[in-house]
Amino acid sequence: MDIAGNTQAPVHALAAEFDSARSLFHAAEKIRDAGFRHWDVFSPFPIHGMDQAMGLKRSYLSKIVFFGGLTGTTLATMVTFGPSSFIYPLIVMGKPTNLFTIPAFFPIMFELTILLSAFTATFGMLIINGLPRWNHPLFNWDRFKKVSEDGFFMAIEARDPAFSEKRTRELLESLGATNLTLVHED
């Protein structure tokens, strides 16, 4: 069995390659049922239905973004009404400075809501995914480069309580995995 990375360092995970999205998908279902927790599958594109196959729940990013948007709206309300009605009210085209002037402020409220939501969505996603990240043990494994082209991989991390170098390898082999590799930390 191949070994990747610095053999002195502790084992990071046991990684294996599958030949297609389909086989990876079914393998994932088995692993899920086997009760593993710290594992992941890698593919060049998001595979339809893989979340269920891995037993993952819906992403909670949307909830964060909601609050991001809310902040935007509040900010806009303050920045428009604050100066126009309280800090420095001016007579402009004989328009009132009370609540009736709100239609004029809708565009700005809307734009700021969108802006802050978008920021939260993008950067929230990166943070949840622990990105940007310069390196990762899996990158020590040359075959893993194919993941961004047409490779389908699975890695079961050593820290997983159910992880046992021997049994896990057998399990993966039984699922049709090839190129099983022990990936070490660096």
């Binding site: 001016l90 007579i91 402009v92 085209m93 004989g94 328009k95 009132p96 400075t97 009736f100």
Partner: protein
């Protein structure tokens, strides 16, 4: 402040700080402070030094100067304020009375000075012949004072010289001519109506009996003098009283043009024009003229006629009236008049004559002073027959000036070579003398020619000695108004550059010493008003600006038919056939004297709205005949070659509606070369065609259309209102039946109901709510307000190229619309400035709050906040916002496009001319009319000061005027606080005639207009056309589509959408 001392260093300049030091513990001065007038003023007559005089007068100035009335400008104040003078408040204006010499008499003026420099001129409202109004020339004359192109140095035969050398040379000449008794001595001067100059002239003619004295004005009224004297005896001057005239007939006269006739006539005419007046009926004005004038624009009935046909028409009138009054005198005149040619609209003349006869001794017939003596005399005869002489017309006895010669007589003598010394004061004969006299070469032949000139102009280039002339605000002088009221011209500032006045030279020539002070004028004053306390009356005259009792004695005119018919019989008949050329006064440069005044150059012509140019004005019909095609949108025109006996002038044509067919009018005073950079390539010189026998009209000229494309800089391209009723008028009878007709005209009645706003506008709470009304009934469009605004608000000049691009900066513009038949349309003028809408569309679109509203209803413009998005200007329906596309203040007009590669900066003297209370705007910011907010604030501050501890509403704010209102001689513009129900503006805003433009937008403008009322005579031909410039009845059915098509169809500048409907 240092910049102020631009004038040459002067010996014995008063040291103010020292004098003040003296003054502080000077018992005399203590006394002065308690008295209104320092005895010193009289004391100084007993040989007290000049400086003491100044000091004492300075003290009295301190006592009286702050008020409107002023005293002699104390020289002490001309010293930079190293140590401030306790009586001047920095930044606060001091007002002094002075006067401006013009060819029709002096105009009484109030000069505002700040920190020792005059910045603004206003008319003197106390003067019986003025109502505080001014004309454009008077307003712009302040710029002449600071003109960097002024003549600055003495020169002799082109070499620089000193004043001392000149004084020596003058003494030489004096010696020389004392020998020959003045045989070889001649003076050629412009008209100033200065008693002091007359006194000195008499002195000279005493010392040099055979000297010649010639007055020449290219647009002067020498004929009028002759005619009046022939009709009413020696020294008579006919003085019309418009306030007494019900019916007025003007035969090619432009008496409402304040540039030509001064503001005097307005005072009488306009009150009688007002339909709201009680008692007297609204007057009716008939005008016969060849080209549209301001008077023609006001006329109830206007007859287009060639200028060469005016005599024929006058005779036709005379015949009618003589027949119906069988007045012997007039009959004899008609008999004596050699039968003139020219087509006459008999029906028009007959009906008009009948109308005049209905108002015997309450009517007035007049014509242009430049007309032939015969015609002028005939007109006097007509008035005599109508019984107007003595009722509407009075004659004043003007002191007769003996042994004066005409320029023709002078040139004869020059040709004979009998003149060795020729003094030329002012004027510019080489440029503007009749071409047939060939003055230039004659002048070259004179061995000693002395020219006192304000510029180094054409005449200077042909003179041996050149003396820079002082501006009238730089030297003492005096003058009489048209009716003879005496005013003192007191200087406001030391000469910026070394210079002399005509009085200085004359005085020195008769052996008097040159004086800094008013001595010569005072001598005259003493002579004229002997008796009484001299200093008291002198100071009184200075304070008020005139001597009330000094008007010429008025007597009832006694018409002398015999002498009159003698003149009449000498009439030279004009050829009425063929195309005629009429020489007109330019509303911008007069006879050429203001050619270097950029304010005036950029002020549009009244009728054509052309700036920086004159043009050969022709009627649409004549244009067709000559094959002249113009591009309306880009104002491109072909050239005409106008030639008459050997001389040819090439000048671009411009199609002017209302022009008589086969008549070309060209404004004088343009096309001056090699004088200053500013005058180059501005307009075309028509003087070469002007002959001493054809000073007004040159009949039967050859005209050739030589093609080419000339680009005019026209401020208003589209002359047709497109049925939009911005300027509204109606007939008197319509007004009587429905006084508020204007309120529901066009879109304000059907079809458009006013918009209703979604929310209630927050009320404007300030105690003052500023508003303005413009009375179209009296606004002729004379441009005085435009120039006044320019002077008051530091409005920059942009130059011809930028005007072509549509970037002129004027805060107030005068829209001129034509309506009716495109050959013979009606004209209406409308002054448009920022409307200060309560719901201003410009405000809401500004992203940076640079333009917002004040609690007083002003639409404010914060220059330092403006970033120049130009959005406000787009959204202004009146298009009154002006954008600084370039750094107009900082860059020469011909280097605007060079950007940073050329150095910027404003001439020092021009910086002095700016109003210190108004920001000079920079490139990239928007600007517009502020309702003269600086004046508003000044008034508010002084109101608060006056109120002191007591509540500020204890007594009402003192009345003050906006700059345009103050300049308006016809009192069309009224500005004030509409919240005060007794204010004029409040009353006029509630007048039935008042309406606001674009009411349906619901912007609630603070400027409202009063509709114009015409008073047509129903029996006149085409009377039904009068007073229907709006034609709103038609345009409701007619959509704009058709109208536009009509407007595309032809490329004449005037298309009335409903013209067809009107004619049919």
């Amino acid at each position: 402040m240092k910049r102020i001392l631009k004038h040459a260093p002067r010996e014995k300049r008063p040291k103010m700080w020292r004098s003040l030091g003296e003054l502080e513990n000077d018992p005399v001065f203590e006394g002065l402070l308690t008295k209104e007038f320092p005895e010193g003023a009289s004391v100084n007559q007993d040989g007290v030094s000049r400086r003491d005089f100044m000091r004492l007068m300075g003290a009295s100035a301190a006592l009286v100067g702050i008020s409107l009335a002023g005293c002699r400008r104390p020289e002490a104040l001309l010293v930079p304020f190293k140590n401030n003078n306790e009586w001047t408040i920095p930044g606060k204006f001091l007002y002094y009375s002075t006067a401006m010499p013009t060819r029709f008499g002096v105009m009484p003026m109030i000069a505002s000075t700040v920190d020792g420099r005059p910045t603004k001129l206003e008319g003197n409202p106390l003067h019986p012949e003025s109502n505080g109004g001014t004309n454009g020339f008077a307003q712009a004359s302040i710029l002449d004072l600071y003109d960097p192109y002024r003549a600055k140095k003495f020169t002799h035969k082109g070499q620089g010289a000193t004043e001392a050398e000149f004084t020596a040379a003058l003494a030489e000449l004096r010696k020389a001519h004392q020998k020959d008794g003045g045989a070889g001595l001649a003076f050629l001067v412009d008209r100033t109506h200065s008693p002091t100059r007359d006194r000195l002239r008499e002195e000279i003619l005493k010392q040099f009996p055979s000297a010649m004295w010639t007055e020449y004005e290219p647009l002067g009224g020498a004929n009028a003098r002759g005619a009046t004297e022939a009709s009413f005896g020696e020294g008579a001057r006919a003085i019309p009283h418009f306030e007494r005239a019900d019916i007025i007939l003007s035969l090619d006269g432009d008496f409402l043009n304040c540039n030509e006739m001064g503001v005097g006539y307005a005072r009488g005419f306009y009150p009688r024009r007002n339909p709201d007046q009680t008692g007297a009926p609204v007057n009716r004005l008939y005008v016969v003229e060849s080209a549209y004038t301001l008077t023609g624009g006001m006329a109830d009935h206007r007859l287009r006629a060639k200028a060469s046909a005016i005599p024929a028409i006058a005779v036709a009138f005379a015949k009618q009236i003589a027949a119906k009054t069988n007045h012997a005198g007039l009959t004899s005149l008609v008999g004596a008049y050699p039968s003139p040619e020219g087509e006459v609209d008999a029906k028009w003349v007959e009906e008009c004559a009948n109308d005049l006869l209905t108002a015997k001794s309450r009517s007035l017939v007049l014509t242009r002073p430049q007309q032939s003596a015969a015609l002028l005399t005939l007109v006097h005869g007509i008035n005599e027959a109508l019984g107007n002489n003595g009722t509407v017309i009075e004659t004043a006895a003007v002191p007769v000036s003996k042994n004066q010669t005409t320029i023709e007589q002078l040139t004869d003598v020059l040709k004979a070579g009998r003149i060795s010394t020729l003094f030329i004061f002012g004027g510019n004969p080489v440029y503007n003398a009749p071409a047939d006299l060939d003055f230039a070469s004659l002048l070259d032949s004179v061995p000693n020619s002395v020219r006192l000139g304000f510029f180094e102009d054409e005449t200077s280039q042909h003179s041996k000695w050149n003396v820079p002339a002082t501006h009238y605000l730089e030297s003492w002088g005096d003058g009489r108004s048209f009716e003879g009221i005496y005013s003192i011209i007191q200087p406001m500032i030391l000469p910026l550059y070394s210079g002399l006045s005509d009085l200085d030279i004359l005085a020195q020539f008769i052996g008097l010493s040159k004086t800094e002070g008013p001595e010569h004028v005072q001598d005259t004053f003493r002579q004229l008003f002997s008796g009484g306390d001299f200093s008291a009356s002198w100071n009184e005259a200075l304070r008020k600006g005139f001597v009330a009792t000094s008007a010429y004695p008025v007597k009832t005119p006694a018409f002398n038919a015999a002498t009159a018919s003698a003149i009449v019989s000498k009439a030279v008949p004009l050829i009425a056939s063929g195309i005629e050329l009429v020489f007109t006064q330019s509303p911008s440069v007069d006879d050429g004297r203001y050619a270097n005044n950029s304010w005036l150059q950029e002020t549009p012509d009244f009728v054509t709205k052309i700036t920086w140019d004159n043009a050969a004005l022709i009627s649409p019909a004549t244009a067709k005949k000559l094959g002249v095609k113009t591009d309306e949108d880009d104002q491109l025109s072909p050239y005409l070659e106008i030639s008459s006996n050997g001389k040819t002038v090439k000048i671009p044509a411009y199609i002017a509606p209302g022009q008589a067919d086969d008549s070309i009018s060209v404004a004088l005073g343009y096309g001056r070369k090699n004088v200053s950079h500013l005058m180059e390539n501005v307009g075309f010189d028509i003087y070469p065609l002007r002959r001493s026998d054809a000073m007004r009209v040159l009949p039967n000229v050859e005209v050739k259309n030589v093609g080419g494309e000339y680009h005019f800089a026209v401020q208003q391209i589209h002359a047709n209102m497109e049925g939009r009723d911005h300027a509204r008028e109606g007939t008197l009878e319509r007004f009587k039946s429905k006084p508020a007709f204007a309120k529901t005209m066009g879109m304000d009645g059907e079809p458009l109901p006013p918009n209703i706003s979604l929310y209630t506008n927050p009320p404007l709470t300030a105690p003052e709510q500023w508003a303005m009304t413009v009375d179209l009934n009296t606004c002729t469009g004379c441009n005085a307000c435009i120039v006044a605004c320019q002077a008051e608000n530091n409005v920059p000049v942009v130059g011809k190229d930028q005007v072509i691009k549509g970037r002129h900066m004027g805060w107030i513009r005068i829209d001129r619309y034509f309506g009716g038949d495109k050959n013979d349309p009606e004209m209406i003028a409308q002054a448009i400035m920022c409307q200060h809408c309560e719901n201003a569309p410009c405000e809401t679109v500004c992203p940076v709050n640079a333009t917002v509203h004040s609690e007083e209803g002003l639409n404010l413009m914060a220059y330092n906040r403006c970033i120049g998005t130009k959005y406000c200007a787009n959204n202004c329906p009146w298009k009154v916002r002006r954008f600084n596309f370039f750094d107009y203040n900082q860059r020469p007009l011909d280097e605007l496009y060079f950007g940073p590669v050329v150095k910027k900066g404003m001439a020092d003297s021009l910086q002095m001319s700016k109003n210190p209370n108004v920001t000079v705007r920079m490139r990239g910011v928007m600007e517009k009319c502020t309702f003269c907010i600086q004046r508003i604030e000044e008034a508010k501050i002084s109101h608060l000061v006056a109120a002191g501890a007591s509540s500020r509403n204890a007594k009402p704010m003192e009345e003050f005027k906006s700059a345009c209102q103050q300049a308006c001689s016809s009192d069309s513009i009224v500005f004030g606080n509409e919240k005060n129900p007794n204010s004029r503006v409040a009353r006029l805003r509630n007048n039935e005639r008042s309406y606001v433009t674009l009411k349906y937008l619901n912007t609630r403008p603070r400027v409202s207009y009063l509709a114009r009322i015409k008073n047509p005579n129903p029996r006149m031909p085409e009377a039904e056309r009068v007073g229907h410039i709006n034609t709103e009845e038609e345009h409701e059915e007619k959509g704009h589509g058709e109208t536009g098509k009509a407007h595309e169809a032809t490329n004449a500048p005037v298309m009335n959408l409903n013209g067809g409907a009107l004619k049919a």
